[in-house]
Amino acid sequence: MTSTVAGRTTAATANGVGSSPARPDGTRKVRGEFAYSSDLWHEDMLWGATLRSPHPHARITGVDVSAAVAVPGVHAVLTHGDVPGLNRYGLEHPDQPVLADDVVRYRGEPVAVVAADHPETAQRAMKLIEVTYDELEPVTDAEDAVHGDVAELHPGGNVVRHAPIRRGEQTPQADVVVTGRYEVGMQDQAFLGPESGLAVPDGHGGVDLYVATQWLHVDQQQIVAALGLTPEQVRLTLAGVGGAFGGREDLSMQIHASLLALYTGKPVKMVYNREESFYGHVHRHPATMYYEHGATRDGRLVHVTARIYLDGGAYASSTGAVVGNAATLGVGPYDVPNVSIDCWGTYTNNPPCGAMRGFGAVQAAFGYESQMDKLADACGLSPTEIRRRNAMSEGTVMPTGQTVDSAAPVAELLDRLEGMPLPQPGSTADLRTLPGGVSNTTHGEGVVRGVGYAVGIKNICFSEGFDDYSTARVRLAAVGGQPAVTVQTAAAEVGQGLVTILQQIIRTELGVEQVTILPMDTSIGSAGSTSASRQSYMTGGAVRAAALKVRGALLSHAATRLSRTTAELHLDGGKLASVADGVLADLVDVLGEAEFDETVEWRHRPTEALDPETGRGNAHVQYGFAAHRAVVDVDTELGLVKVVSLDCVQDVGKALNPQAVVGQIQGGSAQGLGLAVMEEIQTEGGVIRNPSFTDYLIPTVLDMPPMNIDVLELADPHAPYGLRGVGEPPTISSTPAIVAAIRAATGKELLRVPVRPDHIV
């Protein structure tokens, strides 16, 4: 099979782009042999522990570490005064203390760190640190934080960002108007591998850090600033990552372990337990949203007006970018002539919130999709018909003024969903198919079925003028009588399967089967974050670009040696071939002792910042779309919901690895199901009440139904291979589709997720 990309003939070796080869890490993970960051070990290493604030808001009036230091086996007890550089870090704004100095702003904020020869010793010493606090009134309501008379938690006030979007008429008249106030609870990423890493001092004032993270270089920048070192002195290597979903984009133990390692001169390992993990990473922003939708009598949208409040918690993290997404995507995948959206991200004394799969688009989608169903009712239309009448398509102008310049098949997604067969009415023979499952709550009586639809939109890659790039190095040489390629990037493999995709790209571009992905580290330039559904696009794009340079150099080399033109040569299955004469030579013979080594820094086309007054600007590089149809059975007597089916249609541009695409859609949909019916971090006065996997509920196999999945491949001409980021869109439409189905079954309004049994009985 050959295909033409960008005017050059390419060859497809087995297991290239478009196939689903085995993951290089798959077998080891399934067998339990894969080394995660919590498995790191070093001779003579110490164990770190973190003392955290028990109060959501308090002034520190004294810290006495003397009893802790005196514990035998303790090597260091450090507080803010021991931070040699800037005692602040943060993804967008350096507003978070490495170790609290005067004020703590959330329960769980690090105050001191301990290194000891045993984890229990460290824990015991930690409990001997005496911190005295003057408790302050916590600010726990995001709307109060913006409009109320409450304490300013940071210089400049409690608004991290306000993003207005203005389009068209600002006082429009519509035949039909529906309004609603919607809430989204605080969801956790609930990755399985807790925060962990190992810092090893190099003996010359620098440190090597092995850590599970999402973005090595931005970690490095923040660590360097806090330690007062140069980037050359702080080298990061990605350790085995047990899931991320955005929760590892912010620092956790990185600076603390490095600080302890440099102070003690010994390697220091830190591993959070599950409870500490809930305090140790950011969560999805809880949202309160006020929506007004106006339409003509026949259901064509006239306007959308919205106020969206996102609770960013104690520190900014990525709140600014989350606000940008919720605002720019706040009307959903619809063509709306008149828009007025105001979105605020705030500081409060709740746990810090930041990146989580869907990143602002999830919250908005629960608001606008609930409204679309309400509007459908008011106009006497079906939920799919109202969406079709307003569906955006290629060429639609977004509320920001940006023209959507590749496929936006919203109507087709809905058509395909409607065309899928509906599940048969539940069989009472198998309790697992009924609400409450094996809890024996119903044998079919009192059960009502409902069907709901939702569509979502997500920006892919970094937006709003961010210089988004990835760096890749591709090296081709003969190794042991075979052509072999090594690929080096700093792109974090967090379980999503990027390492497989990069191998596939090399096979397609260079026709070489043997591809080694080197450990990800900071010895090469940044790859950007593993977030925003961007790594196949960005690091995939960079690796492809580097591979094309290698191929160009190789073909020139071969053309000279064989007295041919490069235009007639191509690579296929480890051979050099010409169009006219077929195979000319084994690639390994062409290579000889030569080595082709290219490094590329690759960018997507630039985006623009949003106008701060109007929100206008070509802010996004690509949009992704998915739609869900949920079918639920609700036991109205007990308020229990069983999601019977959760079908999804998504456009992925090009499925580089079809099996991985389906995996992303299943996983994203399950995470959306969790938000719809069970997942919420319960906070009370800024304190988390359920920091365990016994009390924070995530769906099990008994809660998640089988899915019908339909993948569209409508190529985006701007993207490598035409691909469209896959990871986030299925998380977005899953939640509102399920809630719509529960509404259809029960007639309840259901203005908040997660929906619990007590909202239904």
Binding site: G437, S439, N440, E445, L638, M678, N690, D695, T700
Partner: protein
């Protein structure tokens, strides 16, 4: 973690003696609850006496034709026992609705009865809690109340008992056999757990050093027609919001001859629903009468702001459970 001494008990009397003599000692069963509490700092015993390997794991016919279940029988084994499954299905169902397979493989009958509350404040050592630290106050009164009591609570404590198994045993009129430093005694399962009153730190009437050795189920022929229903936030591995254990005896005319009902998730103890039972006896087992029986039982309920939903949920759960056990056609 605080250092502690661990000892594996060889026989019952030595185990009882060791714990009774030492106020800082605790029995350790399957460890599925106590070990969590050690990690959280909720429990700080200095000595652990592991009773899980004592030869008390037999499940055998009782002297009066009932069934005697040894205290160290694992939950999985009890749930799988053929006599339990056929004669007391409510108990098998209750056990299987609790925790996960791995936990049930470890958890023991005695330990499960002594399981402590899942109240978030009880488990968070930084908050006031009268059950954990008497006299410090009850944080749940003004706090997160979703899993808390609506019956029999006090201003000192609104926690609920989390066990599913215990609810079934209370419905079945089980007897708990106990050995203590002063000999052995037996008490009805219904009287094992206490209401909180002004001593919420005491979950049960057992004295320090008393060890549960067995639970005896009486011969109750109509218990073969029994069921357990559990309403919770996800399909498995979650604690009950409300649960119902019921056994129903209906004559050929459809009249309730006898009935046993207990609720979980509503109180500091498994709540035996005597009022509901009385309301049901002598009349047909219809949905309507079941709902009214539930209402009679819940008449004195005092829901908190955050858990009033438990009243309609308990009514619905009882109605649904009895409907399943009743031969009458559904009269919804």
């Amino acid at each position: 973690m605080i250092p502690f001494e661990y000892r594996r008990a060889d026989d019952v009397s030595a185990a009882v003696d060791t714990v009774a003599r030492n106020p800082t000692a605790s029995f350790l069963g399957g460890g599925t609850n106590l070990v969590d509490h050690l990690k959280l700092g909720v429990a700080t015993p200095e000595h652990l006496v592991d009773v899980s390997r004592l030869p008390l794991d037999d499940i055998e016919p009782g002297p009066d034709g009932g069934l005697r279940i040894g205290a160290t029988a694992r939950n999985s084994d009890t749930a799988a026992d053929p006599d339990v499954r056929s004669r007391y299905p409510v108990l098998a169902e209750a056990l299987l609705s609790g925790a996960s397979g791995q936990l049930r493989n470890l958890a023991t009958v005695g330990g499960n009865l002594l399981q402590r509350t899942r109240c978030a404040y009880f488990q968070d050592v930084t908050t006031p809690c009268n059950k954990r630290e008497p006299g410090t106050g009850c944080s749940a009164l003004e706090g997160y109340q979703r899993y808390h009591a609506i019956l029999g609570a006090s201003r000192h404590c609104v926690a609920t008992h989390p066990s599913d198994m215990a609810v079934a045993m209370v419905a079945l009129d089980a007897t708990v056999h106990v050995q203590g430093p002063n000999g052995s005694r037996s008490l009805p399962a219904e009287e094992l757990h206490r209401l909180p009153g002004d001593e919420p730190e005491r979950d049960t009437v057992l004295e320090h050093g008393e060890l549960i050795t067995a639970v005896e189920l009486p011969p109750l022929p109509f218990a073969a027609n029994s069921a357990y229903r559990k309403v919770r936030d996800r399909a498995s591995y979650a604690f009950a919001l409300v649960s119902v254990a019921a056994a129903l005896d209906v004559d050929d005319a459809g009249t309730v001859r006898d009935v046993r009902i207990a609720f979980g998730g509503l109180a500091h103890k498994p709540w035996r629903a005597h009022r509901a039972e009385a309301a049901l006896r002598g009349g047909p087992a219809t949905d309507d009468r079941a709902a009214r029986a539930a209402e009679a039982e819940l008449e004195n309920a005092e829901p908190l702001a955050g858990n009033a939903f438990k009243i309609p949920m308990a009514r619905g759960a009882l109605t649904a459970t009895l409907r399943r056990l009743s031969p009458l056609p559904t009269t919804r």
